[in-house]
Symmetry: C2
Subunit: 416 residues, 2 copies
């Protein structure tokens, strides 16, 4: 699974090439005058990359929609993009070998869209659902099912039972390369954790020539530990897997090898920042994956050019030369912060991709630790200075204090 034999990667007939993105969160901040289109713009770029790279499919890791019930505008916008980029004459070369009525058993059209003789699909999209766009309500449908009914997306990885999950992979072959694509739409972490512990999660494997298949799981769960059972440890996952595409986590961590399990975890991260947290500052990306008959995989991170820039700076006032007892301390701190914002704006200008669709106004966040008697200043008034130059003027400043508290196991620091 190394990346040798560079020249043979051009053997298109035997190379499965797909693009991975996740947590597109269409509709995030859709009512924000500045940021309202960010999520759709990033999705369009992902589709453009997929089209340009002539991939065999686009794989999405869940949370395509930010809201369980997307607004009409967002659903419409999404469908228009999919129809624009996914329909066309280029034939899809993937042979679908598994029983589609099992893979898409929950669907009214239980077959892959590119085999529908009435639709010219040039770019198949496979997606699991996330926790934001999970099935709900009468009929247990999710927003993806609307796209699926239109033949625009192949929604997979939906499992009906609450107690037992048996994953049947989609078996895809191109030339001599064989891909077993497993999916598991978002499940509440505690529940799934419990199911794993009880051995109630099983992954079926092809009966014959098991060793010839590259096994990929698309997953949408907490990877970061939020309490004992509120995440899924990587070692819970079967070690026959070659690749886990891990959605839900918004940090674009990209590729990491798990040596114990002997698989690679690809955490694409989100394509739009849905919070002003550190992790969302990592440059947003899509990932190109190539797979060869030898089961070798090659990965290529493709930085998105249209995503709004986001800079976050940590400031500890006690570490500066500012004096908390200065009668003008509040004004001086504000002036200091203004300077920092200006610096970040300079950096944003320098680092702008030049892509016309990348907005000029970045997201800026100053996290200001003000312990030690420092006064706060009016953050609204501060933001007004940057109304035209920052995308989130009212949320630039975040004051916090270090909090020290006792815990059974000893003293720990916690951030307020």
């Amino acid at each position: 699974m190394s990346t040798q034999d560079e020249e043979t990667w051009d053997d298109d007939e035997n190379t499965i090439k797909f693009l991975v993105a996740s947590d597109v969160h269409l509709g995030y901040a859709e009512k924000d005058a500045k940021r309202g289109h960010d999520s759709l713009v990033a999705f369009e770029e992902v589709l453009q990359i997929a089209k340009k790279e002539e991939v065999d499919f686009l794989l999405l890791g869940g949370d395509l929609f930010h809201e369980n019930k997307p607004s009409r505008k967002i659903l419409h916008g999404c469908m228009c993009l999919l129809r624009q980029y996914c329909m066309g004459d280029r034939p899809c070369q993937l042979e679908f070998l598994s029983d589609q009525s099992v893979n898409f058993g929950h669907s009214k059209f239980p077959f892959v869209n590119y085999e529908d003789p009435n639709l010219n699909v040039s770019l198949p999209v496979f997606s699991i659902h996330g926790n934001h766009d999970d099935p709900a309500g009468s009929g247990n449908l999710c927003a993806l099912d609307i796209l699926s009914a239109a033949g625009l997306v192949n929604h997979f990885g939906q499992h009906p039972s609450l107690d037992q999950i048996e994953m049947t992979p989609m078996l895809l072959q191109k030339g001599r390369t064989k891909l077993a694509l497993y999916g598991l739409g978002s499940v509440r972490d505690e529940r799934l954790h419990r199911m794993f512990v009880r051995k109630s999660v099983t992954m079926l494997r092809p009966r014959e020539n098991q060793d010839e298949w590259v096994n990929i799981l698309t997953f949408h769960q907490n990877r970061v530990k939020h309490g004992e059972k509120n995440y899924i440890p990587e070692q819970f996952l079967d070690s026959f897997l070659d690749l886990v595409v891990w959605g839900h986590e918004h940090d674009a961590r990209g590729l990491e090898r798990n040596d114990v399990q002997d698989f690679i975890v690809l955490q694409p991260g989100s394509t739009v920042a849905t919070s002003l947290a550190e992790g969302e500052t990592l440059p947003k990306k899509a990932f190109l994956v190539r797979v060869k008959p030898s089961r070798k995989m090659k990965f290529e991170a493709i930085p998105l050019q249209t995503v709004r820039q986001f800079y976050l700076k940590d400031i500890v006032l006690a570490d500066t030369t500012l004096d908390p007892n200065d009668p003008d301390a509040a004004d001086k701190i504000a002036a200091f912060c203004q300077e920092k914002v200006e610096e970040l704006l300079c950096r944003a200008e320098e680092e702008h991709t030049g892509n016309k669709r990348q907005p000029k106004e970045p997201l800026i966040r100053l996290k200001i630790e003000y312990s030690g008697g420092f006064p706060m200043f009016n953050t609204n008034r501060f933001g007004q200075m940057f109304t035209d130059r920052v995308a989130n003027p009212r949320e630039i400043i975040h004051f916090y204090r270090k909090k020290v508290y006792e815990k059974k196991s000893g003293t720990k620091e916690k951030w307020e």
Copy 2:
């Protein structure tokens, strides 16, 4: 425009044949355990008729959806039906001669769906929007636009201006038959009435060979006078029209000739009863229309076989032998009404179409005029006798009293 020359109606190459339905109200009573599927069942029957008759298109008169924001289940159900019945290999033989970017100017895909090389459309659907599913919110989109983005419906007759309407027809030709299809999505009646009075509504006509075109308008307004300006008088409409397909009115009145204007009004009515009013008892229908090069039209009413039966009976207690002063009057009236319901249930059983999808439990309404000192009885308890046999047990009985009141112009009767 008579119906002579029967034999030549089989000249398929020169006959445009289309099906008309209206006010499908998908999602009406969707949460009612019994009636929840009625609207979808009727729509499916309409699509089945269109398919069986191999029509050139299906024309819908608005209010396809009952709610402006249909539930996911209903939107999904609608899309599945459209994909099932409207996609296929049978080529559409209608030449589209007008400028599609004008006809579908509001659409992201401003062309008719059957000319999209990526979609195999066998049954084009043309629809205007009604007042129930009119454009609203950000982007001024309506539920039809979701279907249109999916390539499942051609949404026409949307006009951007609030002061001025200029209708450009879709010009459709098959062999030697030419159809100019005008559409006007629902407009608030008072406003449209005012626009007509101000001569702000114009209908453009093809420049050449005007006399060869059959001119059809699809319309969704009050036809019945609800106050001076709260409807559109037929004489407001251009007399060059040959046919007006009049949606919005739920009574299946069918065909009526307007001799003054020299056009035919086809009022299809709704395909599901959305109220227990008299007009909704008229048998629900779709209408087959054939048009020949001579501009002759032939109409065929097709009664729907799957629509829930609805019987309404008017009872005036004073006209019966019942005695208001009988100490058991309430019980006796209830018994009398029970007998009437039984009679209607018998009639329903006799008149059931035999179609498996037509529900066994009809809608039953007794309108009881109880003036003259008659007591009322408990309608809930009454309904409980028919829980299993009537679709609307709690709403069978409607008591009302004749109310006489003075009006400026004299004495009039009004119903409470």
